[in-house]
Symmetry: none
């Protein structure tokens, strides 16, 4: 059972190195944001020299964008949208909120870094910001679809309002949790949020299509 362990360490293995760099970068960027993330710090944390980082990523911008992409994928996996067809509308709404709450506790890097990037308003927008807004847009569309499925009677404006409010609540609760730590019971808060959005949707639906 001889394994060709001749892989003398330190020589070649692009894929693994790329991961190591990204691992280090998520951690640092998730804590310090774009400007706070120095290539030297990433290099120190992942063990590869700074110049090696530039073999794998064109520049810092490219690295951060890759960080966003990968941490979004990680987060998406954590949300693991379950079978979408069972339960009452309220149950399904609440179940989804629970998933999101759990995913944000488990994989907060994506949203923390993303929000930091989103809040910046610098002339030369970092590509990471663009990427974040794009994937966020995708997530937003999912919510829109869900609302349209659960409340078919709603007009577009109402759907848009509810989507915006749903996302805003998630962002805001995440921020509260980041600030106050465990003092914020994220699952409970998301449960409340889900119910309020549900009530609001129900109310809007009734008003726009009143029963005879």
């Amino acid at each position: 059972m001889t394994r060709p362990q001749t892989t003398r360490r330190k020589r070649a293995n692009g894929v693994e190195s790329r991961q190591r760099i990204l691992d280090a970068a998520v951690e640092i960027a998730g804590e310090r944001g774009y400007e706070g993330t120095s290539i030297a710090a990433v290099s120190a944390k992942c063990g590869l020299p700074a110049s090696s980082i530039y073999w794998h990523f064109k520049d810092k911008d490219d690295l951060i964008a890759a960080v966003i992409e990968r941490s979004f994928a990680t987060w998406l996996a954590a949300v693991e949208l379950p079978g979408e067809g069972y339960g009452t509308p309220l149950e399904r709404t609440v179940a989804m909120a629970a998933n999101v709450a759990k995913s944000l506790v488990e994989a907060p890097d994506f949203l923390r870094l993303g929000l930091m990037l989103a809040l910046e308003r610098r002339p030369a927008e970092p590509r990471g910001r663009t990427v974040f807004l794009q994937v966020r847009e995708i997530a937003g569309r999912k919510i829109t679809e869900m609302i349209e499925t659960l409340f078919p009677g709603l007009d577009d404006a109402a759907v848009h309002t509810l989507t915006t409010y749903a996302v805003a609540g998630a962002d805001g609760l995440f921020v509260q949790r980041e600030i106050h730590g465990d003092a914020v019971d994220l699952p409970a808060m998301f449960d409340l949020h889900a119910r309020l959005v549900f009530d609001a949707a129900t109310g809007m639906a009734e008003r726009s299509a009143p029963r005879p």
Copy 2:
């Protein structure tokens, strides 16, 4: 024969210089966050040499903290809480939300910079972050008091939950507005938010002290 014209231009006037520095600093820090704000950039924008900034502020940390303080004051003035005693509870809730929405559109720097600072997780926490969390705490207490006044029957946990949710909604809606610009009708969204919080409070109050 007093010669007041000897005020040879540029000689003295600390107060004005301090303001000019802060003006420049709010703008830059509001766009780029803590790390993204360089003394050189502030110097370039306000016209005073970097060394002059250090005459007015101990260090960068001190400057950013001052920025937070002043932009908080600006924002507070924009909220201009009106007489608190009139109208129905719902009217008062909605009125307050309208005020906050307006203030966030008019003076967004405080919250934008503050949230950026709040999201960061760096070893040596900048004083600006502490200051932001403190003034935010004060604002949070105001909300707590308002809720307690309007819904005397609520227990502490419910009040805390509602406060958290109210603040989270404000933060989240602000973020949405920062991201999507005028596509987000902040006053309308805050109105919805106020009503939902109000409904939630009413519901909690009924449950904890049911009428016979």
Copy 3:
């Protein structure tokens, strides 16, 4: 006779520092060209830290341009055009050539660096190159004027041809001297050059305005 030698060294004196930097930069840039001139090398040679160089010059481009400007001034002083009104035309031509030859032996940095820059063809042309071509243009105009004064009968094309040839000879002889060192007797070669240009001019003048 106490001198206020309190000038504790190392503290302030912009003008002198600027000169020291330029002194170092001429030397290095004159030897190694634009790319070969590293800020670190200039810093080492002049004793000031690299960051101080950036106090005096915006960037490397700016430094090299200043080097060209100053070394041109130095060279111009070395040419010390003498009273222009005496002697026969040939004597004046030859005297001028002697001056130029002497100046190029004494202050070769200007032309050496300048030619290196001039030969480069990079997309983003360094400002130093532009400056060199401008001052060179000025020098060229002087020669044109001199030719027009000495040979009033020549048409514009002839004057232009002669100017080009005169300058080309100077450049080429300088290059030969740079390559072969003292094996090239620059004054003698410039003397020959002057006579040949003079003969050429005379020939052209006769042809264009033949005596009956």
Copy 4:
């Protein structure tokens, strides 16, 4: 049943790769000089990875030297010295100058890069510079021989002076052309140059061997 189509593309063919590298390198080095030529840039332009360049050339120095050698060969082919035995001395002189002028317009890389290298004065002289000076020396000898053939009466000093002046004129006119582009009519200028050198030679010959 030989399968020559197995030449699976990209496998083997050192000669072509070498040419591609040299093609890229001449272009870049001719534009930016020694220091300005980075292996990465050559790699990008020729499509081969940097490490492949090191398979064909020992190091950067070796590459640049090869560039000089090849571009000299190219230039030499462009000069295509014609049968040396016909015509009057002046005709032959003028014909040669015309050839050189044409070759410098068609293949300017050799001289442009060569002059850049020649002007540099760095401690560790690049091999490319040495190579350039050597091939230039050969070209110089050709001119010396030609002068000796056409003007057998001249002493060594005169021949040396004329050779130096002839080469200097060529260099200088080339530089003028590089700077001013098509505004310089290189063939015409070389024609003038040839005639002036010829006149000078004639004059020197008469003086050293006066007719009885």
